[in-house]
């Protein structure tokens, strides 16, 4: 076999150089059309969620919200979205690298990522790359306090969650005539949990709560055994258990409550975990009773019914919850902004998101708008109770579809 002469195979003549220059010019000239697509092409949305790791249950629940979005967007006359999924593996560093990878692969807008730590990392990447990022769920206040121009959050901050939680708790106490005197506060020691702990210290004194916190117990969100934590909480003899948790630990804690034969007057959760579908399915009758004070949906809104119907069709037996609602609303914000911007140019999209004014939404409150920091400060939290593997909204009155049951039925009398 003869080796070909390089001079014959790769000779650059004046003609080929000119042709190459022309081709390069064409590519350069047409490049903006690759980035700024005309309306009609679907917006590429990178959705980052913890689909594996100890937050996998919640991440997969958020995914259900993603799955039903495009159908509803079509019904609303909004452009459909091209979803690019990524798994953060419940890890901040993985979240950061996946965000970079999605942008590298052409994502024009990012959505996610359920967790405050992971969302903070993604926000840094989005801001650096100049790609709009709509947070679905993450409550740590600093995320929207950094002066970011491309980061938006349609979810309440820890302070807002606590404010509404205390208001709704007072409403529940008034409705049931209950007045717990003491509470033990247990929280995960991750970004969200510690932000909530700090928030309680700042917000609770502003409300005339009937109970005082007699003990605060923090624990590792990836803990495998929470028996000591429950022993310690039980020993306080507190009337109610005030919780800021995740899903796996909520299940572990309930198991320990049963094993250690302790039924507090109520479990008052101010975060995820206790209303999740996996919690209801894993624990069956033992899941009944906890009250969760969390960002929720207004069951009386038109779009809520539409979302409920779509979820029931796609995932029969799964209750609509915060994970689906706020993931859907983040994508709704993206589609609405894309329609108004008529462009996928990142700056145009960010400007359009900043001017969002969606009144026909799902979550409790007047709708979706963002302040100068990119925060929707109009969201109102709700109070919900687990009953017979279903979720009943018990507060605020304007959004309620049931009355609260008080106190918690003893775990050893549930058959």
């Amino acid at each position: 076999m003869k080796r070909k002469s390089p001079s014959k195979t790769a000779r650059v003549t004046r003609r080929t150089f000119t042709a190459g220059l022309g081709a390069a010019g064409f590519v350069a000239g047409s490049a903006p059309f690759n980035i700024v697509r005309a309306q009609g092409a679907a917006l590429k949305v990178g959705v980052l969620l913890p689909r594996s790791g100890y937050q996998a249950g919640i991440g997969q629940d958020c995914q259900r919200g993603v799955d039903i979005t495009n159908g509803i967007l079509k019904d609303l006359g909004l452009p459909s979205l091209q979803i690019m999924n990524a798994d953060t593996e419940t890890n901040v560093e993985v979240a950061r690298s996946r965000a970079e990878k999605l942008i590298g692969e052409g994502a024009q807008l990012l959505v996610g990522a359920f967790d405050s730590g992971q969302s903070s990392a993604i926000a840094q990447v989005a801001e650096q790359k100049g790609i709009p990022y709509v947070i679905n769920i993450a409550a740590a206040p600093p995320i929207t306090e950094q002066g970011y121009k491309f980061v938006f959050r349609n979810f309440p901050t820890a302070g807002m969650i606590l404010r509404d939680a205390f208001v709704d708790q007072l409403e529940v106490f008034a409705a049931t005539g209950a007045a717990p005197k003491t509470a033990v506060f247990m929280h995960v020691n991750d970004t969200f949990g510690t932000a909530m702990k700090g928030g309680i210290g700042a917000v609770m004194p502003k409300f005339n709560m009937p109970y005082k916190i007699v003990e605060t117990i923090s624990y590792d969100p990836a803990a495998r055994d929470l028996s000591v934590e429950i022993s310690k909480a039980k020993a306080t003899g507190a009337d109610v258990l005030l919780m800021v948790s995740r899903l796996n630990d909520a299940i572990l804690l309930t198991r320990e409550l049963v094993k250690q034969r302790w039924t507090p007057m109520a479990v008052l959760s101010m975060g995820p975990g206790w209303y999740e579908d996996q919690y209801l399915k894993t624990l069956g009758k033992l899941s009944d009773g906890p009250l969760s004070f969390a960002p929720w949906y207004d069951p009386n809104k038109k779009l809520s019914k539409q979302l409920e119907a779509a979820l029931a069709k796609a995932h029969p037996g799964v209750n609509l919850n915060t994970n689906h609602v706020y993931t859907f609303e983040a994508l709704l914000v993206a589609a609405d902004a894309y329609k108004r911007a008529s462009s996928s140019d990142p700056k145009a999209l960010a400007d359009a998101i900043r001017k969002t004014n969606i009144k026909d939404n799902v979550s409790i409150g007047p709708g979706i708008q963002f302040d100068a920091k990119g925060q929707n400060d109009k969201i109102i939290g709700g109070g919900i109770q687990n009953r017979g593997s279903k979720l009943v909204t018990v507060a605020p009155k304007a959004a309620a579809n049931g009355k609260p049951e008080w106190p918690l039925k003893p775990y050893d009398k549930r058959g």
Binding site: S52, A223, K232, V258, R261
Partner: protein
């Protein structure tokens, strides 16, 4: 805080510590006889946990009933691993052995990730929510069963090494390698048996542990580290030391969680390790090097 709270937490810590002790016993047996440090110990335990979870979810086989069969599977795994992979490294430098077993550990974690995924899996046994009440003492049924089973397995193991011909021969190999060769013992086979027994121990511990905690592939390295903390605290190579170390660490973690902050409880088990290394470097029940 009422006294019964301390009592309940202490009993829970001791029962969990017994299972920790059984897990560490396997590591101690292997090191005591072969001087091989099994860096894949926790990972081998997760294999047993996954077998228990799979058998339960597929056939509803109770982990405690499957304890002996699963331990037998781990015994076979350990035996083959020793004969085929570790034996050629017995006479090589320690660093080669360490790297080999670290590699085995990484392979196990990743294989488990591929097969089972990263999410936590659990066994919902019929007694998962049961507890026994004796006056002010409330004992978690699963922890009690696991702790009792750990005691039974440990007694059987002690009896095996003390009274059986094979056990005595293994101890002879541990005491004097050259002497064992001179009197005609099949040292290669005895080493493989030892590794198999160590693996069976950790397999039995895994079956019991799956009643107490959910399993993920990432659990392996954490338990390898815990086993090292226990055997170094109890005395490297000492079988009673492993059990004592396990109970001590289990109790320390539980009481530290109660008295200080639960999220920092593992910090206290490392503090115990540091204290032992400072004041009794050979471990609580270890023999001082001649």
């Amino acid at each position: 805080m009422p006294f019964d709270v301390y009592l309940n937490v202490a009993v829970g810590g001791v029962l969990t510590g017994l299972v920790y002790g059984l897990m560490a016993l396997g590591l101690s047996v292997i090191f005591g006889v072969m001087r091989v440090v099994n860096f894949a110990h926790g990972e081998m335990m997760t294999i047993a946990m996954y077998i228990a979870v799979t058998l339960f979810s597929a056939f509803h086989l109770d982990p405690l009933i499957m304890l002996v069969p699963i331990a037998a599977v781990l015994f076979a795994f350990g035996y083959v691993l020793q004969v085929r992979l570790i034996n050629p490294f017995i006479t090589r430098p320690d660093t080669s052995q360490f790297l080999l077993l670290v590699a085995v550990a990484i392979i196990i974690v990743n294989l488990l990730l591929i097969v089972f995924g990263p999410d936590a899996r659990t066994v919902q046994a019929s007694y998962a929510y049961d507890s026994f009440q004796l006056g002010p003492l409330i004992v978690d049924a699963t922890k009690l069963y696991a702790g009792l089973a750990a005691i039974v397995v440990a007694i059987a193991l002690f009896a095996f090494f003390q009274y059986s011909q094979i056990g005595i021969a293994i101890r002879a190999c541990a005491d004097n390698y050259t002497g064992a060769l001179v009197v005609g013992l099949d040292v290669k086979h005895l080493y493989a048996l030892t590794f198999g027994i160590g693996a069976a121990c950790v397999g039995a511990a895994g079956v019991m542990m799956v009643l107490i905690v959910d399993v993920t592939p990432a659990l392996g390295p954490a338990y390898t580290l815990l086993a090292f903390v226990i055997v170094i605290t109890g005395g490297l190579g000492s079988m009673p030391g492993a059990l004592v170390g396990g109970v001590l660490i289990g109790l320390t973690e539980a009481m530290a969680g109660l008295l200080f902050t639960p999220s920092a409880k593992s910090m206290f088990s490392f503090a115990v390790l540091v204290l032992v290394l400072l004041f009794r470097p050979q471990g609580i029940m270890g023999k001082r090097a001649a």
